[in-house]
């Protein structure tokens, strides 16, 4: 490890610490806004460090940097404009959209880690397994969060949407996704199999959220938020980047706890929400005295 790599590690550690402190500050209303700013400071350190590190260590092609800057401007302007103009009552669906693009971004990073090394040699298991998991989870959150946002916005019916044999279709698509994922790993870098995983996971995300009632949608957004955290952590494993691993794991765990708390506050169980099809506010039948 050179002195430069050590410095990068220290800066990543500093940004991770700021994420933790920021999240901690957000637990109380009086310090919450400062907490968010602390977390944003950690983000600035992480991104600037990565840019300097990438320029020094690998350089890269100017077209790739142009693509990065163009994409970041496009996404950044869209994000900030939406965030500034959204009505306060429409915030949950916007958060859901931001969560969707985060999952999609993580899937794209993993996909690149899979494709970029080229066809020669094959890909190590330590990379291919997190890549497949990332594309799987990231794609589910991408389509799932968009459907959840549609339900919150009222574009898609807030009623649970189910159809006969839905569960069988779910299981079938899940099996296809898993088999293609295993094949992608065994074949040491088969892009076609990874595309199958991507498409199957996108379908799975839609199928997972459609049966959920509109009132339960915020809980599902929170759950998908935790999913995105895990997807980002997997992207970190794929490209060996500690900032992504720490921040992703942090959000994955925090999001899961938050999901449980939200469900509890609404007197709903997370399991019954995920299994879906129970409808909005309909009690789970197991506790009812039937005779």
């Amino acid at each position: 490890m050179t002195g430069f790599e050590f410095l990068v590690g220290v800066l990543y550690l500093a940004s991770a610490s700021l994420f933790v402190v920021g999240l901690h500050q957000m637990r109380a209303p009086s310090t919450a806004r400062t907490g968010n700013l602390i977390s944003a400071g950690g983000m600035v350190i992480a991104v600037v460090t990565t840019i300097v590190f990438s320029l020094v260590s690998s350089g890269g092609h100017w077209i790739a940097w142009a693509a990065l800057i163009g994409g970041a401007l496009l996404g950044g302007v869209f994000g900030v404009r939406q965030a500034r103009t959204v009505k306060m009552t429409d915030v949950p669906q916007l958060v859901s959209v931001f969560n969707a693009v985060g999952g999609g971004g993580a899937a794209a990073v993993a996909f690149a880690a899979f494709v970029l090394p080229g066809d020669a040699g094959g890909i190590e298991l330590t990379i291919s397994i997190p890549v497949v998991l990332d594309v799987l989870i990231g794609s589910i959150t991408f389509s799932g969060s968009l459907i959840a946002a549609g339900k919150l916005q009222g574009i898609i019916s807030g009623k649970p949407i189910t159809f006969p044999g839905a569960r069988a279709v779910n299981i079938l698509v899940a099996i296809v996704a898993l088999c293609a994922g295993v094949m992608a790993v065994i074949l040491r870098g088969n892009t076609l199999m990874l595309v199958v995983v991507l498409v199957a996971a996108l379908i799975l995300g839609v199928l997972m959220v459609l049966p959920i009632g509109g009132a339960d949608a915020p809980v599902i957004v929170s759950l998908l938020n935790a999913f995105t955290g895990l997807a980002v952590a997997m992207a970190g494993f794929a490209i060996n980047n500690q900032a992504l691993i720490i921040a992703g794991a942090l959000v994955g765990a925090a999001g899961t706890i938050l999901t449980l708390q939200m469900a509890k506050a609404m007197n709903r169980s997370v399991v019954s929400i995920i299994l879906g099809g129970f409808g909005t506010g309909e009690p789970v039948s197991s506790s009812g005295p039937s005779g």
């Binding site: 637990r27 806004r33 330590t126 060996n240 959000v251």
Partner: protein
């Protein structure tokens, strides 16, 4: 390679535990800002897009870089700005904004 993997796994597991610890028992009015705030943090995937850019040298690589950068930037910039907007309502000292606060948090 195994050493790197183990190091990363250790970081992953410990960060998971920190994540569990740091969000225990928060008031329900803060559920939405907390969700939004942690949503912004996973926008760190934009650092992954930067690394992708530094490694890309094929058209497929450029396209994936562009997609990753667009999506991640929307997540990270939008995420922090909207979280700040939500939290602005919490820091206003004693206005009659309690009802809007509760409305946004539901």
């Amino acid at each position: 390679m195994m050493q790197t993997l183990f190091g990363n796994l250790a970081i992953f597991v410990l960060a998971l535990l920190v994540g569990v610890e740091v969000i225990s028992k928060i008031p329900s009015t803060l559920h939405t800002p907390m969700m939004s705030g942690s949503n912004a943090i996973h926008g760190v995937v934009i650092a992954g897009a930067v690394i992708t850019a530094s490694l890309a040298s094929t058209p497929a690589g450029y396209i994936l870089t562009f997609i990753a950068a667009t999506l991640a930037a929307a997540n990270v910039f939008g995420g922090y700005v909207v979280t700040d907007r939500i939290l602005k309502m919490f820091t206003k000292p004693k206005q009659s904004s309690m009802s809007t606060t509760a409305g946004a948090a539901s």
